[in-house]
Amino acid sequence: MILSILSVFILAFLVPLLQKLTGNKLAFLLSLAPLTIFIALLHYYLSGTNFPISESWEWNSYFNLELAVYLDGLSLLFGLLISGIGFLIYIYAGFYMKDVKYNGRFFMILTLFMGAMLGLVLADNWLSILVFWELTSITSFLLIGHNNETESARYAAWQGLLVTALGGLALLAGLVLTGIVTDEYTISNLSQHHELLTQHTLYIPILLCVAVGAFTKSAQFPFHFWLPNAMAAPTPVSAYLHSATMVKAGIYFFARFSPILGGTVEWQILLSFIGGITMVIGAVMAFKSDNIKKLLAYSTISALGIMTMAFGIGTETAVFAGTVYIIAHALYKSTLFMMAGILDKQTGTKKISEFPSMLYKKLPLAFGVVCLAALSFAGIAPFFGFVAKELLLEMVLHSPMLSAVYVAIMLIISVFFVAILFVLTHKAFTKGRLDNKVKSINKLIYIAPAITALTGLIFGLFPDVLSNLTSLASSNIFSGFETKHLALWHGFNNAFNLSLLSIMLGTGLYFISLKVNWKLNLRFLKPFQPSKIYDYLFDGLIVFGQWQTRRIQTGYLRNYAMVTLSVILILTGFTFFYKAGIRINTESLDIYIFELILGLIVLLALGFTLFTSSNISALLSLSVVGIAISIIFMEAGAPDLAITFFLIDALTITIFVLILHKLPKKMLRKKNFDRFRDGFIAVGTGLLVTLILFSLTYNPLNSKLKEFYAENSYSAAKGKNMVNVILVDFRVLDTLGEICVLAIAALGVFALVNYTKNKKID
């Protein structure tokens, strides 16, 4: 099983090669992969294997990372959806993408995406889930941005990626936290820690992290805005993303985590609240949309809200309803999207209002398929959507808390869905512009949507076929779930009544909206729309970045130096006074007069260097400083040092003098404020250094090095000058480095001088 997932990835990398071999038939060849998986999964299911099946292969034990596959009802359900619909999508795309540029890349990424999705639902290890999770993000990024020459595709892809990546990060945090609380990284074992987790102080953070992760992926409020934009993707991708894959990942997550984190008030409130808001927003926006893909996208958001709410409510019925609705939604939504693509190709527009009038006459087949799916979408009998909707109404009616609110929301949604049904059928296929021709298209492209639509009808007529599968899945979500049977007809119960009511209200809503130019003025809300907030954030971050970079990276060297020196001064100074404090060794106070005068000389010459207005004089007095210091060295028993000091000083100054006459003579002075500020830093640094030295020399130093060198420099190293012996023997490596510096400096100076010798620098 692990191998089957891996083989999908390998297949993806073979795509360029296959494309060369097969050319236009590529998609059909590739479709064999999902088909095989579908059949394999189906075989598992039908052959009565005992679920769950698990397999694992250690990937990295340091991270508790395993490539573990866990096939239970839930993952089986999702796996079947992904592979089944995936198969159809390939077929569809085979026709749809025939003449599109770079379709080789497209199929490669699509295959990767499918592999990642499969991996995600089958994986049983926290980390490997995350791996696949992010892989779906990035592949969907590439898919959405396939038409990247248009601005909108780039924008949408980027947005989608950022939002889902945000979720990924939240998920990562949640993952690590769960790992820390339970020390368990296998998802299927995590439900054993349900109590530990839900009673832990970190429960709320974990819940929030996981929820935010899932919310972003399945486009829940306030992260829903990326999904409508994502329709910039080629239509097969939209169909796949919206129906069975990407957005369902979040739902899958809620299902998976119901037994782990669910069952608490927090869980219920968070999920159902967010789900509810999302449902309503999605439905309203969908109804208002004219662009058919946008309409479908918003309806997806709404549907996802429904599922979120279902798993939020978390009762036995709710779980079951949610599970069933996943299948129903996958079937009708993939159909509708595929049809949207076909209509787009044939009419040349995505706008419903611009479709040719009386389209149903020109494209009867299309009309038929859309009707089949749309009826399921609106929950009309005898389609599978109806079965699902009945269960959902059942769920809200029997919700343990806030039942009335749920019912109201559910009703609103149903009303809007019915209205949208009319938009998709009546408005799209009868109204529109006059005398517009449609392009002809290979009729085989209808195969895929027709299959999904018909499947919806078949499942609607014989829902019991799915009873086992959905019950199995639900039992993995809700522990102690008892097998339920699906039926088309439950009798005239409250659910059915509500359903009827919604059909009536929805029909009314649609026809009223046709007559009345019904504009809700919500403009004042615009700035608060999440998509706007995303834009503000996007721009705001950049503006903030620019601001802080302007402040920090001013380009002025003097500022840099000042900040650097100030930081050094402040931090060191603080540490010194906080940790060490001042102490002075009184023995060090014995000073010879002539030392004092030497000190004074240094002081004066230094001051002169500091304040003279002539550069060359400053240099000269610098030599005085140097010589005076070397006298001090000499006096303190360091003749080598004294000589070297002379020499280096003289050489530096020589080089300085050599170039000085080429520099402008003008001498710049500091501004008054600068003087004050720089003086402050300078005096501070000087003072600090002095105090540190006072403190440092408070105690005598017992250097064992000194004694060792004294003993060994003549006897073992054959030299009487200990300093030189240290340089060329004891610490010869330092000297090696030192001469390297000299060599580099010399070559560097040479290059500096000669590289652009007779050229102006520009």
Partner: protein, 111 residues
């Protein structure tokens, strides 16, 4: 002696830092030189000071009494030489920078 030198090191540091913050290239380089000298003296003082004898082995193969610690001296020598390399490079570099049109002071180096 250590007392005096500590103050001297502080002075050198103060002067060096003050010059490092200058708008004039030449002063900047002088600042670099002074800081270099200051750090050398710092190590010297940190290694404690012995006024009496240089660290040479005498004729009899024994060190003199109360001789200066050779280690800081060796360190300073290395550091000084390295510093020289860097100072020399910096000097020529600054000279080259003057060759850039319209660059006369440090503040002209923006971007």
């Amino acid at each position: 002696m250590e007392f005096l030198l500590s103050i001297l090191v502080g002075l050198l540091f103060a002067a060096g830092v003050y010059l490092l913050l200058h708008r004039d290239f030449v002063k900047l380089v002088i600042g670099i030189v002074i800081i270099g000298n200051a750090t050398a003296l710092f190590i010297f003082v940190a290694g404690r000071i012995v006024r009496e004898n240089a660290p040479f082995i005498q004729e009899d193969g024994l060190p003199p009494e109360n001789f200066a610690d050779p280690v800081p001296q060796a360190l300073i020598l290395t550091a000084l030489v390295i510093g020289f390399g860097i100072q020399a490079f910096a000097l020529i570099l600054f000279k080259k920078v003057y060759d850039i049109p319209k660059v006369e002071k440090i503040d002209d180096l923006k971007k």
